[in-house]
């Protein structure tokens, strides 16, 4: 007999109070290996207006494709100074920002590898449940074989791929809640 899962409720407009203490926008202190990147973007609603009260959380592997988690049994090293967790509260313009490293490939279910990606969780007033999505990197040859991207209708895949933002390692990726270029969200 299984217990009934607790229902989700919105974070509401005052999420900043609860989330501020564990905001992490700089994930990779000096000494962490990997290609340094910044990931910036804006969250916009169905009217294209900036969402200034969202919280964006990310979860990623290190440059070797290893998660800092006991269930990652790969024979690869974790790095003590890289947890792989980030959280950013959106600004007045809906903007969020992370400075991190590009993750490596991680295993896919059933064999093979997933392309480098960052898992993204989005919370805000007006979302009774959070949203889950992913961001991939432009031009990465592994994208073509990524089993998750292949689940997504081809015409919508671009919403999951960041764009070069000018500057070394700078990427831009926006979260659009509705509209013709609505971001792909996953039932996770």
């Amino acid at each position: 007999m299984s217990l009934l899962t607790t229902a989700s409720q919105t974070v509401g407009p005052y999420v900043g109070i609860g989330f501020a203490a564990l905001c992490v926008e700089e994930l990779a202190p000096e000494g962490v290996s990997g290609e340094r990147i910044t990931l910036t973007g804006r969250v916009t609603d169905g009217d294209g207006k900036p969402v200034n009260d969202a919280a964006v959380e990310i979860w990623q592997a290190n440059a070797a494709g290893k998660y800092a988690h006991p269930e990652d049994a790969q024979d690869k090293a974790v790095e003590a100074r890289f947890r792989g967790y980030g959280r950013s509260l959106t600004r007045a313009d809906g903007g969020f920002r992370f400075a991190t490293i590009k993750p490596g490939c991680v295993p896919a279910p059933g064999g093979g590898l997933q392309a480098p990606h960052i898992a993204v969780t989005v919370f805000m007033r007006g979302l009774l449940r959070h949203l889950a999505t992913r961001v991939y990197f432009p031009g990465d040859p592994a994208n073509a074989e990524d089993p998750v991207l292949r689940l997504v209708p081809e015409e919508r895949r671009a919403t999951l791929i960041a764009r070069p933002a000018g500057g070394k390692g700078a990427f831009e990726w926006n979260i659009r809640l509705q509209g013709t270029d609505e971001t792909v969200f996953f039932d996770l």
């Binding site: 299984s2 217990l3 009934l4 899962t5 607790t6 229902a7 989700s8 409720q9 919105t10 974070v11 509401g12 407009p13 005052y14 999420v15 109070i17 609860g18 989330f19 564990l22 609603d45 169905g46 207006k49 009260d53 959380e57 979860w59 592997a61 494709g65 998660y67 269930e71 990652d72 049994a73 947890r83 792989g84 967790y85 991680v106 295993p107 896919a108 279910p109 059933g110 997933q114 990606h117 898992a119 969780t121 919370f123 007033r125 007006g126 979302l127 009774l128 949203l131 889950a132 998750v148 689940l151 809640l177 509705q178 609505e182 971001t183 792909v184 969200f185 996953f186 039932d187 996770l188």
Partner: protein
């Protein structure tokens, strides 16, 4: 490497929908395209690990964050963090935030004309112990008006953010108080279709954790998604 055991999907009607027009903010913020079903991989069964470098032992007592004590009814909120299979979720992070006893949040956007309390910030965090137990000491939040519809008031509630073992267990919820007459009018509470799942968000008064001459106890157990019985596919790197 060993196989990946994913998490079970929520039971039908036990989670709120994205679009729930009675709660107006959902209209422009809920996705309009169907979600893409994502089989769980290593990415979803892992997730951030927190520890005592993130949470001080005193972070769970919201009545002792300032020079003086906050105004209001002191309460102790405790319970267990379990998964659907009744297994305790240990050393997991729970974050709490709330309005003060007058129904006002310490936040620049909150313009409700109720007083702020100089001795109350309204945020705390704890880690569950080796049995999945957690405990907060705080004051009971007040109800407050909001602009969703005419004469709209939110019932008293605590916001709770929980990180389980894996990303697929992440959840943010709200805990309500027993006997609150505002609950049936609340579109957020009512957004959950299943009545049992809805009622689970109401805490219960708990004599056992009530402390004489000090504080009323409320019990609130939190249940995260459980593992599927067997790994479905093996994973090799």
């Amino acid at each position: 490497m060993t196989g990946i055991t994913g998490y079970r999907r929520p039971y039908f009607r036990t989670q709120p929908p994205y679009l729930h027009p009675d709660y107006q903010s959902t209209v422009k913020r809920s996705p309009t395209r169907p979600l893409v079903l994502l089989p769980h991989s290593l990415t979803e069964v892992t997730g951030p690990v927190f520890g005592y470098e993130d949470v001080k032992p005193t972070d769970g007592d919201l009545t002792r964050q300032h020079a003086g004590e906050p105004i209001g009814e002191r309460i102790i909120v405790s319970g267990r963090l379990l998964d659907e299979n009744s297994r305790p979720v240990v050393h997991a992070l729970i974050e709490l935030w709330q309005a003060n006893a007058a129904g006002r949040y310490r936040h620049e956007v909150d313009d409700h004309n109720a007083p702020l309390d100089p001795n109350f910030s309204g945020a705390g965090r704890v880690l569950t112990d080796a049995e999945g137990r957690y405990r907060f000491v705080t004051v009971k939040p007040g109800a407050y008006p909001w602009r969703n519809h005419y004469n709209a008031w939110r019932p008293a509630h605590l916001h709770l953010s929980i990180f389980g073992i894996g990303l697929a267990q992440r959840i943010v919820t709200q805990m309500y108080f027993p006997g609150d007459p505002l609950i049936p009018y609340d579109p957020m509470f009512s957004s959950i279709p299943d009545e049992k799942a809805r009622e689970r968000l109401v805490s219960s008064f708990d004599w056992e954790t009530t402390r004489p001459d000090q504080a009323l106890g409320f019990r609130f157990d939190i249940v995260l998604r459980g593992r599927d019985a067997t790994p479905t596919e093996s994973t090799r790197s």
